[in-house]
Point group: C2
DNA sequence: GCTGGCCGCATACCTTGGTTTGTTATCGGC
DNA sequence: GCCGATAACAAACCAAGGTATGCGGCCAGC
């Protein structure tokens, strides 16, 4: 495990006063903060890949907060987003929430509201990073399998017997066993049950009738 | 499979004009509709258990739409909810969306907006019913296992070998095999991989270190 | 007091999974 | 032309999974 450092909060607001206020608020509880005055500045600098939460003003010069969120989603940057808005309306709130925002705060808000939202967002991010990490690891191992090994992996984890795999692929059973053994080693599976769970991560729930 | 009948939409609004307008709108595309004038009326009659979508006015006499949603969640009634509101504000929208609403429409809205929201909600409901049905089936079968069978199920699906299960439970290996065989039959698992997937449904992802 | 469900075990047998050692062959790239 | 990766297979084992038949004990409910 890497040493978990303090949460990193990214703030994007065109008002320097708000940026400073939020920065000192978050620093006061031991978080790290980086601020940007616009979506363009953030994207030019690049989203820090250890960010745990983003606070976006809805109204920003140039690209709006909502459009920035859309861009982040398209870039598959899944940092939890909290919106701030001066005079928000319902449709923009709905759009932001549907797109996955964890909260939507109307200015002015109390410090505690913001801190609660951030702590929920950071917790969400930790969980996501955790499960993504495991998933990526499995996918990486899977990608390192040879084509034949992938075929054997897919079939045995779907429940096929070695002999059926052999028949379907036109191989002898012993060959399947050898591939299967290598799959177990390469995937780092300590039991067949383990392997099935990995298969579930790679290709979730292939449906079957009762 | 049961014959899938047309989607059932539940409307709750205190304005009879709105109720009628929505009813004829939904009926025009072949859906079934039941309407209520308040949360109390709905709860007194009971939420139809084949409902696929609920349209709630936020402002209702007595219990508000948002409180009704909270009640439904507490009752574990997971029908997708769409809110309508005359003059909505951001906090109420956030609350509704966080609590799982699929959409939030500001009156007046275009018919097409409502139809789009409903069709998304109905699709969501079908998916949910589908996966819940499978899950319930597995849980029911699991509940029908004897205590010993459950223990054996848990251990083998976690990856333990029969001999280890036997040692841990103070049994002979043959006894474990017999239990295991009965578990396979009772659970309706056609392969061990099947069984592992069922275990995943019952007790999702028990974490292990690499 | 008897039945039925749950639990446990043995003997016997067969199938399936898994490993090791060694051989053969193809193919792409340096 | 050779190396490394991929692929396939055989012989020989050994371990683990799975089933059937049969036995006995315990306990709750009728």
């Amino acid at each position: 495990m890497t040493a978990a450092s303090s949460p990193l909060i990214v703030v994007v607001d065109d008002d320097a006063g708000i940026r400073d206020a939020l920065a000192s608020l978050f620093k006061s509880i031991g978080n790290r903060v980086v601020s940007f005055e616009s979506a363009q500045h953030l994207l030019a600098a690049g989203v820090p890949d250890d960010a745990n939460c983003m606070i976006l003003d809805v109204r920003l010069p140039g690209t709006s907060g909502l459009d920035l969120q859309t861009t982040l989603n398209r870039l598959e940057i899944r940092i939890p987003v909290i919106f701030m808005t001066g005079y928000g309306d319902v449709p923009m709130t709905v759009r932001g929430m549907k797109a996955g925002a964890v909260d939507f705060l109307s200015k002015p808000f109390r410090d505690q509201e913001m801190l609660d939202a951030v702590s929920a967002a950071v917790a969400l991010d930790r969980r996501r990073r955790d499960s993504d990490g495991r998933r990526d690891d499995v996918l990486k191992r899977y990608a390192a399998l040879t084509p034949r090994e992938k075929q054997v992996f897919d079939m045995v984890s779907a429940g096929s017997l070695n002999k059926n795999v052999a028949a379907d692929l036109g191989l002898s059973e012993i060959t399947v066993k050898i591939h299967r053994g290598r799959v177990m080693k390469k995937m780092g599976a300590r039991s067949f049950a383990d392997l099935v769970r990995m298969a579930e991560v790679i290709a979730p729930h292939s449906r079957e009738a009762t």
